[in-house]
């Protein structure tokens, strides 16, 4: 019965995932796939399980039920992590005093899987420069990470996530705390990564406004997967109307 699904070879395959946190049901029987080239927005109210879902897909958390596959392999067995980029939820996890330059932050990802004999120094430099250029941060390469603004740090973390030229990039609320104008540039940048570099993008967001302009797939989560499909259909869907009718805070959510 899986033969047709196997033929289309989804990048990510989420099957019947449930997650309970004690008695609280965070995710309930979520099933969907992400195909190569998608720009998918995962939306849903606070506590709807968006971050948990991504963490399960990335193997950072274990589901109570179900299975996530990356490039056809169960996530526990997946090893080719240079094909996956990840930008975690911002601010909470970074030590502002950490003594790392922008260049070093990007190098961490580039050299994480390297054995003792590294690639040539020159090649390293080129890869790092290229990634920083893509997010328009190459001028800052010798700055300390903690000395940058929130939006600039986010760009650096994206450079870090794409330095290995991944097939798929996960972002968890990347524009939280970033001003509106910068956000626009930010989404344009993601657009070009998606369209020009062919990187599949999966982004958790509160900001439904951007969904219209940039993404081509929407997954609406509220414990269960309420909607998954193209963004055009999403705008006609009951899920979207419900969300608007509810005056839901996710329509325009600013921190």
């Amino acid at each position: 019965m899986d033969s047709s699904a196997a033929d289309s070879k989804p990048l990510i395959d989420v099957k019947n995932i449930s997650f309970n946190y004690g008695p609280v049901e965070v995710l309930k029987d979520v099933t969907f796939t992400i195909s190569s080239g998608d720009f998918l927005a995962i939306i849903g109210p606070n506590g709807s399980g968006k971050t948990t879902l991504i963490k399960i897909i990335l193997g950072l958390m274990k589901p109570s039920h179900g299975e996530a596959r990356i490039l056809g392999k169960p996530v526990e067995e997946f090893e080719d992590w240079s094909k996956v980029g990840y930008v975690p939820q911002k601010a909470t996890h970074i030590d502002p005093l950490f003594p790392a330059s922008i260049k070093e932050v990007v190098a961490m990802e580039l050299l994480a899987s390297r054995r003792f004999l590294r690639m040539k120094k020159r090649e390293e430099e080129v890869s790092i420069e290229k990634a920083l250029k893509q997010v328009n941060m190459e001028r800052f390469k010798n700055w300390r990470i903690g000395s940058l603004s929130g939006g600039q740090q986010q760009r650096v973390f994206i450079a870090r996530a794409i330095v290995n030229q991944p097939h798929i990039l996960f972002l968890d609320e990347p524009t939280t705390g970033v001003d509106t104008e910068t956000q626009e540039h930010f989404y344009d940048m993601l657009d070009s990564l998606n369209k020009e570099e062919g990187i599949t993008i999966v982004m958790i967001t509160h900001d439904i406004g951007i969904v219209n302009k940039h993404v081509n797939q929407v997954a609406c989560l509220n414990q269960k997967l309420v909607y998954h499909g193209s963004h055009e259909e999403f705008c006609q869907s009951q899920a979207f109307k419900d969300m608007l009718a509810g005056g839901h805070h996710l329509v325009s959510h600013r921190h």
């Binding site: 990335l58 193997g59 950072l60 090893e79 080719d80 992590w81 240079s82 996956v84 990840y86 930008v87 975690p88 996890h93 970074i94 030590d95 950490f98 003594p99 790392a100 330059s101 260049k103 070093e104 932050v105 190098a107 961490m108 990802e109 050299l111 994480a112 899987s113 390297r114 003792f116 010798n142 300390r144 973390f157 870090r160 996530a161 996960f170």
Partner: protein, 269 residues
């Protein structure tokens, strides 16, 4: 300075001291940034039990201390992870137990003597040739492993979740850092003694971190400060007849204070 070239014991002390200083400083940088700077202090107290056990059983105290320290370090890690104890609580419990067991064993062995005091307060000027080679070999292994995993250690210290997603086996490397710390504490014990070894792990690294604007600088500065403290500490100790351990630690503290003030001063102006 002549004496340092003439007397074997001084050369040995210097040689071992430099190697141990570098491995202490290297690990110190990671431990401080992992918010784990008290682990050295805790392990040192546990090492005391190991030394006392060695004296009691009349087998090489350094070897017994090494085994006990590594086992305790892993125990602390597991307690922290699995049993839901706060990290510093686990350290507090283990370190007091180490000290308690050490006191009982040392009394039973009737070894509250020069030997034991040597371990407590450091006896680098009395270090034996075999211990010098052991120290150098172990310190070299520590330095080699840190260089080998430099980017991975840095990544998991900076951003643990992203490090995991990049494929770094953070659990395994946690164990590695813990074991290296235990080995380093035992080595440091020969230089500055059980009571001061955590200073050698923490203070030069803390001093280096005051001024560093990137990670490489932090690593290099910290190692340099540790080496300078040990070199000049030994030098002063020999010429003014100070205890070597205390002198080394006070010197590293003075360097730390200088950098600390310098940094505040720079920020104001």
């Amino acid at each position: 300075m002549d004496a340092f070239f003439v007397y074997g014991f001084l050369q040995r002390a210097l040689f071992a001291g430099i190697f141990v200083a570098v491995s202490c400083a290297l690990l110190g940088v990671f431990l401080i940034l992992r918010r784990d700077s008290m682990i050295g202090h805790g392990l040192a107290h546990i090492t005391f039990a190991g030394v006392a056990l060695g004296l009691f059983l009349k087998i090489v105290p350094l070897g017994v201390a090494l085994v006990i320290a590594v086992a305790a370090a892993l125990g602390i890690m597991k307690l922290k992870e699995k049993a839901g104890l706060y990290g510093d609580t686990a350290i507090a419990i283990f370190s007091s137990m180490g000290l308690a067991v050490g006191i009982v064993l040392a009394t039973l062995a009737q070894s509250f003597n020069v030997d034991l005091f040597g371990y407590l307060f450091g006896d680098i000027l009395a270090i034996e040739t075999s211990e010098v080679w052991l120290s150098i070999a172990l310190a070299a292994v520590v330095v080699f492993i840190v260089i080998l995993h430099y980017h991975r250690f840095m990544y998991m210290t900076f951003d643990r979740e992203a490090a995991k997603v990049s494929g770094i086996k953070v659990g395994r490397l946690d164990v590695l850092i813990t074991v290296l710390t235990a080995v380093t504490v035992v080595l440091g014990m020969k230089v500055v003694g059980i009571l001061l070894v955590s200073a050698l792990v923490v203070i030069p690294a803390a001093a280096g971190l005051q001024l560093a604007s990137n990670f490489k600088q932090a690593i290099i500065l910290s190692s340099l400060i540790a080496v300078i403290s040990v070199l000049f500490g030994l030098f002063l100790a020999y010429y003014f007849d100070f205890p070597a351990s205390g002198t080394i630690v006070i010197l590293s503290f003075l360097i730390f204070s200088f950098f600390f003030i310098l940094k505040r001063f720079r920020r104001i102006h």
